[in-house]
Amino acid sequence: MQPGPPQVSDTVLLFAGIGGILVLASTVAALLRWRLAHGQPHTVIDNLVSRINAWWVMVIAIGLAFIFGKTGVLVLFYLISFYALREFLSLAYTRRADHNAMAAAFFIALPAQYFLIWIEWYGLYSIFIPVYAFLILPILAALGGDTKRFLERTSKVQWGLMICVYCISHVPALLTLNIPGYEGRHLLLIAFLVLVVQGSDVLQYIWGKLMGKRKVAPELSPSKTWEGLIGGVLSATALGAALFWITPFNPWQAALIAFTICLLGFFGGLVMSAIKRDRGVKDWGHMIEGHGGMLDRLDSVIFAAPIFFHVTRYWWTP
């Protein structure tokens, strides 16, 4: 009669629910392809299918990581940070003299950040990159002796490290929070963040496709509309409230937090899009042919994760 530990039963319930929704989505997409596109290539339906497939990949990757617990999650996000940093620095302008700074970013700062989270040393992992790496990277670049576009070059390496390593590492860092009454359920906090923020991306896309007219930022991202933004963020806020049972929050707190991280996610997408436009590329990378890279998928989570972490830490930990 006794159900399993709360985390296990809730996690199973959550993944069963997501799995059900994805099966439904894949079925609907297959039906649409059959009835509307008659099996022929169709831009909107193909895009829909690739988005659903990306969700399958994401849910399976996170599910596998959850099975291995803290280690699994840290390894998964270490790899995500690595690929994100590679995409970021591959598009950035650097010179020969930046080689050591970039090597330090890849081979020292990245592993060190995840190691500090592994040993749960909050006092150091929260300042390691913004303080120590921030100062040491330009020192390494300066020792290279090349002054051409120096500030721009060093800023790009620092920015890459902040976005791809520091910000992303705040997703697994959620596991280190000591929330009274929430012991052993931290993985669900990650699920909440990812589901709400990525769900908001999908809902914005759907609302935008259904009734999008007025563009929010035509220069940055022509596909983002006010209708999509408002509809998507409000429905994702409702999704967040509905998921309160997997969090330490009550329904209205869950809604407020979901609203905050959805907005941050939206603006994260805008910022990353501005960088892509400036570099003249459509996507950050080519992880899955035609569907962009790691940073294209994660821009919203990157901006939401550190704020979500600190909001939760400030109000829910002693």
Partner: protein, 236 residues
């Protein structure tokens, strides 16, 4: 001499080395091949590319379909690739480089006599012989690695003479992106920077009945190469 030497080096070893080099290059750079017009063709082809790193020919070679790799031979400087046993193994054994003597450097390399590469050989004749045998070439027409801020150095005339000698061979420009950032000169630690290799359309034959001037051909080839540069590299 050369054939005998190749028999001595066990084929399995060179194949294993080739597979390891391809695997390592792939894992490190995630190299992506982009074919701008049509796909690869199994016809004698001169792939001419920009040259900023020792890794260039490895990346270009890795980007080719596996069945074309053994038929595609890099043109390389004899003095560099004969200067140590390891380089000889990689240059001659694995990649079957067509070794060219650079004028003025012959004396410095003591190993030339042993290799069978002869200083008196005409490099154009050497390359033409390879193409006539049905193989393809990887050529860096800048003649040396470009370590300047220039996009591409002026081309040496070899490419032109080769095109006169072998008019029916395809000349395909290839832009190699980012490899020089993976392991720049003097660096020890390679960076996992993403690279791409863009294959352009083969140069069209000269439209005029008159034979094309040397400089006009070289300019045309160089512009075709530079045109393949990704947009984001242009403003750098």
């Amino acid at each position: 001499m050369r054939n005998a030497e190749r028999d001595v080096i066990p084929r399995m070893l060179t194949q294993f080395a080739a597979a390891s080099i391809v695997g390592f290059a792939r894992a490190l750079t995630g190299v992506r091949a982009i074919w701008v017009s049509g796909g690869p063709q199994a016809a004698p082809t001169v792939y001419f590319a920009n040259h900023r790193s020792h890794g260039d020919f490895v990346l270009l070679w890795t980007s080719l379909p596996p069945d074309l790799r053994p038929l595609t031979r890099p043109v390389a400087a004899a003095d560099y690739w004969l200067s140590s046993a390891l380089r000889r193994f990689i240059g001659c054994g694995v990649f079957r480089s067509v070794l060219i003597e650079r004028r003025g450097l012959i004396e410095r390399s003591g190993s030339i006599e042993r290799s069978g590469a002869r200083p008196d050989r005409d490099p154009i004749a050497q390359m033409a012989a390879v193409l006539e045998a049905g193989d393809s070439l990887i050529l860096f027409p800048e003649g040396t690695r470009n370590e300047s801020d220039e996009v591409v150095l002026p081309f040496k005339s070899g490419l032109f003479h080769l095109s006169r000698r072998c008019p029916h061979v395809r000349f395909v420009p290839v832009w190699i992106n980012n490899v020089h950032r993976v392991l720049p000169k003097g660096a020890i630690v390679p960076l996992p920077i993403a690279c791409s290799v863009t294959f352009g359309a083969a140069l069209a034959g000269s439209a005029d009945a008159e034979p094309e001037e040397k400089q006009s051909f070289l300019d045309r080839a160089r512009s075709a190469l530079i045109a393949l540069r990704p947009d984001y590299e242009r403003e750098d």
